[in-house]
């Protein structure tokens, strides 16, 4: 589903990704761990082209991200094509980024109606289903400001799911939450994983990674230090840096 080959990313003179080789299969859950500045969020954002790759090949479901390949040459995708590709990839942000001027229901129906052209009533019905799935069926008509952080993040997940994505990206989804609210969001993510969603999750929640991840990747300073199953990386880390990092995280 996601294939990264020698992915490099620089911001001006600062090289953040120094050659990432990763693979995520359909239905697989991959957790990206690592210290801040390791490039894990940047890599995540490259997957749906919120950041443009500087070098290397990154493809989602067989299609190159941000480019079209024709006759051996790379052609940059037009805005419309990029938008269409993004519509199939859902993203959940650390700071939720719900639209504050819309109710929870409208947040969830906005993209299906505007981007996919779905009928409004059908979209609303589906939105209510999704909100119910994340445990917020009674909050459909409330505004984000009236919701707790955990509730907002769950609405954000419902909003991403409304587009029926084939891949879900999570950028530290629980880092901005009070500890008591982390559980409810992780529960939704676990159920998504159980239902077979392909997920790439940047997180610090080790127990989540251990329980749910099919693959755990440890990144540091722009490179993949170690990758493997959850038990391999978390319980039997091979590299010094991995061990150092894990020992400092509770």
């Amino acid at each position: 589903m996601v294939l990264a080959e020698g992915v490099h990313k620089s911001f001006g003179r600062l090289e953040v990704l120094k050659g990432i080789d990763l693979q995520v299969s359909r239905g697989e859950v991959m957790c990206l761990l690592g210290p801040s500045g390791s490039g894990k969020s940047t890599f995540l954002r490259c997957i749906n082209h919120l950041e443009q790759v500087s070098a290397g090949r990154l493809s989602v479901d067989g299609h190159l991200v941000g480019y079209r390949e024709k006759g051996g040459k790379l052609y940059e995708l037009k805005e419309k094509e990029t938008a269409r590709a993004r519509a199939d990839i859902g993203m959940v942000f650390q700071r939720f980024n719900l639209f504050p001027h819309m109710t929870a229901l409208s947040n969830v129906t906005e993209a299906p109606v505007r981007v996919r052209g779905r009928d409004r009533r059908l979209a609303e019905a589906r939105a209510r289903e999704l909100l119910s799935r994340v445990g917020l069926d009674d909050k459909a008509d409330t505004y984000p400001a009236q919701l707790s952080g955990g509730q907002q993040q769950r609405v954000a997940i419902a909003r991403a799911l409304a587009m029926e994505p084939k891949l879900m990206l999570f950028d530290e989804p629980t880092s901005a939450l009070d500890p008591e609210l982390v559980g409810e969001v992780l529960a939704v993510m676990r159920s998504l994983a159980r239902d077979g969603m392909t997920m790439v999750v940047v997180t610090h929640e080790m127990s989540f990674a251990r329980d749910v991840a099919d693959q755990v990747v440890f990144m540091d300073a722009g490179v993949v230090v170690e990758a493997g199953s959850a038990t391999d990386v978390l319980d039997r880390p091979q590299h010094e840096r991995t061990r150092e990092f894990l020992s400092r995280v509770p």
Binding site: N48, L50, E79, K80, A83, R84, R86, A87, D88, I89, G90, M91, F93, R95, N97, L98, F99, P100, H101, E110, A111, R114, V115, R116, A145, A156, R159, A160, M163
Partner: protein
């Protein structure tokens, strides 16, 4: 039986002798001014009389009309040029920059005069003589409206810039195009930051519209000038229209106060508009 609370703290408050002194000085200055103006050769009766004169009221009406229309035009142009300024197309962006630079960089009065004299550059427009098309009203509307557009463009641009980047990212991650993101997500949120200064701009427009008297547009100031060139009561008539301007700006300032209060809702200091603070300071008993 409830216990009595702790005894209230009794102390001798700080004495502000300086405040007594400055209050006295201010009152003395006011008294001197009042005396000076009452002894001056000003026929206040005339001022009051012309306040309700037909020409003056019509002038006030035209001031209001041109201000509303020019402000509306300014808002429309402002949104357009702000979006152009933020465009990734270098041509659109530069053209917008040029418009903003040109119309903010030259005096409104000069712009009004140029529009009024457009016939000297283009004798005909679309087959019709420019002097017929460019009436004082049209010239005033174009001059004030296009000038206001340049200022509104900057207000709108900063409003758009005030919306958190995360909003745009979330919208794009959902597959929305830049245009959709702007229209549905960014602009509605930008309004919170755009509307209060726009209210101020309108109040300024009410006063700036007086410049249109130079191109013969029959607004409030021109009505005063027409009258005093005949009856030579210059000061009296200027006082009349000053009162009218005060009435107009004050009425809308009240609206502006409520507008600011509404758009500061949710922020920590919701009551802290400039007028609000003034009112609460006056209400509090001065500790002299």
């Amino acid at each position: 039986m409830t216990q009595p609370g702790p005894a209230r703290l009794v102390s001798v408050p700080v004495r502000h002798y300086g405040r007594w002194l400055s209050a006295l000085l201010v009152l003395a200055a006011i008294a001197w001014l009042v005396r000076a103006f009452s002894q001056a050769d000003i026929d206040y009766a005339t001022t009051g009389e012309f306040f309700t004169a037909e020409n003056v009221i019509r002038g006030a009406g035209r001031t209001l009309l041109i201000s509303v229309l020019a402000q509306a035009m300014g808002i429309g142009l402002g949104v357009l040029f702000a979006v152009m300024r933020l465009s990734r197309n270098p041509v659109t962006s530069t053209v917008a920059w040029f418009y903003i630079w040109l119309f903010r960089g030259t005096p409104v009065l000069v712009q009004l005069l140029l529009w009024y004299n457009l016939a000297l550059i283009f004798p005909t427009i679309g087959g019709r003589p420019t002097s017929d098309l460019m009436t004082p009203f049209v010239a005033a509307l174009l001059g004030l409206g296009i000038n206001e557009g340049a200022y509104m463009a900057e207000i709108v641009r900063s409003g758009i810039g005030s919306v958190d980047d995360g909003q745009t990212e979330a919208a794009q991650a959902l597959g929305m195009t830049r245009a959709q993101t702007l229209r549905r997500i960014v602009l509605p949120q930008a309004m919170r930051v755009i509307i209060p200064p726009t209210g101020n701009e309108f109040i300024n427009m009410l006063k700036t519209s007086s410049l249109a008297y130079t191109i013969q547009y029959g607004e409030l100031l021109l009505s005063a000038v027409s009258i005093y060139t005949r009856n030579l009561q210059v000061i009296e008539l200027l006082f009349t229209v000053s009162l009218w301007y005060l009435v107009l700006t004050s009425v809308f300032s009240v609206g502006q106060y409520f507008l600011e209060r509404r758009f500061n809702r949710g922020s920590r200091d919701a009551r802290q508009t400039a007028t609000g603070r003034l009112v609460s300071n006056l209400r509090r008993r001065p500790r002299l």
